[in-house]
């Protein structure tokens, strides 16, 4: 615990110094190559130390993939933030998204992983690359070469990071089998026990509330107590329990589409000495 905290202080110092050295200069001056290299070395060192805290999920292959995705996501994140070229930043962000999708996959969240890859790496990044390349064809803008208060921002964020690490280290592991399971069952009471454990006078009311609140579609397991397949369960609950939400989201997107069309429609150019005669 105390050793963890000392190590965390070292990680924060190395990481903050490395990130600061890799960030652009605050007045947009060029930093020498050696400074960037030193920052990268410090950052890699901090990252390797940080890897000491992680626990790999089980056997050989998944452990390799866990460390690969973890290190690559954090390294690509630092490069996204510190790169002076927004195009490279967008590409490194795509690397962050792909690595986190790998981590989702290792945690058994397949749908989220695939959705993240399709939406972020597929759609958003490509749109951003188009925007950057169309808007900045003449090269890097001056505001890309300068950072806003890099020293203070880096140290503020890394002190926050130290606080978060401190609170994570304070999480107590499950003490023993008995305590762990009883604590869990205090929180997650099965619904049929909820009705059974209510007072005799409240039984009908509790049963009514449970019947309304917990629908069969919103359960993770079906009637034969097998787990539902991910996407099928998600689609079922999305189009039965949350139908109104889906419809409202669709309506919102449709209104946004109409707005985009009305903004983007080609209008005849208005020349200086001439009153526009086009119907409004």
């Amino acid at each position: 615990m105390t050793r963890d905290l000392y190590l965390a202080v070292f990680i924060v110092m190395f990481g903050a110094t490395g990130t600061y050295l890799m960030l652009p200069h605050s007045h947009g001056e060029r930093k020498p190559r050696n400074v960037h290299a030193l920052g990268a070395v410090l950052g890699v060192f901090a990252l390797l130390l940080y890897g000491l805290y992680w626990t790999a999920p089980g056997p050989f292959v998944s452990a390799i993939f866990f460390y690969l995705f973890g290190f690559s996501s954090l390294a690509a994140a630092v490069l996204t933030v510190t790169n002076r070229d927004p195009t490279h930043s967008a590409l490194w962000f795509a690397a962050v998204v792909l690595s986190t999708a790998g981590l989702y996959l290792l945690a058994g969240a397949q749908f989220l992983a695939v959705g993240t890859v399709i939406v972020y790496a597929g759609a958003i990044i490509v749109t951003f690359l188009f925007v950057i390349m169309l808007a900045q064809m003449e090269g890097r803008a001056p505001y890309d070469r300068a950072a806003r208060m890099p020293f203070r921002a880096t140290w503020t964020c890394f002190v926050l990071f130290l606080g978060v690490l401190w609170s994570i280290f304070h999480m107590a592991p499950p003490a023993s089998a008995g305590i762990g399971t009883s604590a869990r069952s205090m929180i997650l009471v099965p619904t049929k026990d909820l009705v059974g454990s209510a007072k005799a006078t409240d039984k009908v009311a509790v049963a009514n509330v449970v019947k309304r609140a917990v629908r069969s579609t919103a359960m993770l397991k079906d009637a034969t107590v097998r787990e539902k397949p991910h996407v099928a369960g998600l689609g079922e609950t999305l189009y039965t329990d949350h139908l109104v939400t889906v419809e409202i989201a669709g309506a919102l997107l449709f209104v946004a589409l109409i707005g985009a069309l009305s903004i983007a429609a080609p209008k005849p150019p208005v020349r200086p000495g001439q009153v526009s005669s086009a119907p409004v």
Partner: protein, 64 residues
Amino acid sequence: MSHAMEIFLFDMLRSYLLIGAALMVIGMIGFLTRRNLIVMFLSAEMMLQGVALTLVGFGLLGSA
């Protein structure tokens, strides 16, 4: 669920929380220091990825 399994899931939750926290903090640095609006948006998305990783880690503990 056995106690060993609980300890194992707890350790995995911890490593997911650690990676999520680091992503969140790096995204925050980017949001504060960069002056390009698109890169600021990317940094905000990175913070979102960190939080999503945290939620996935907690889901790991709750699902088993």
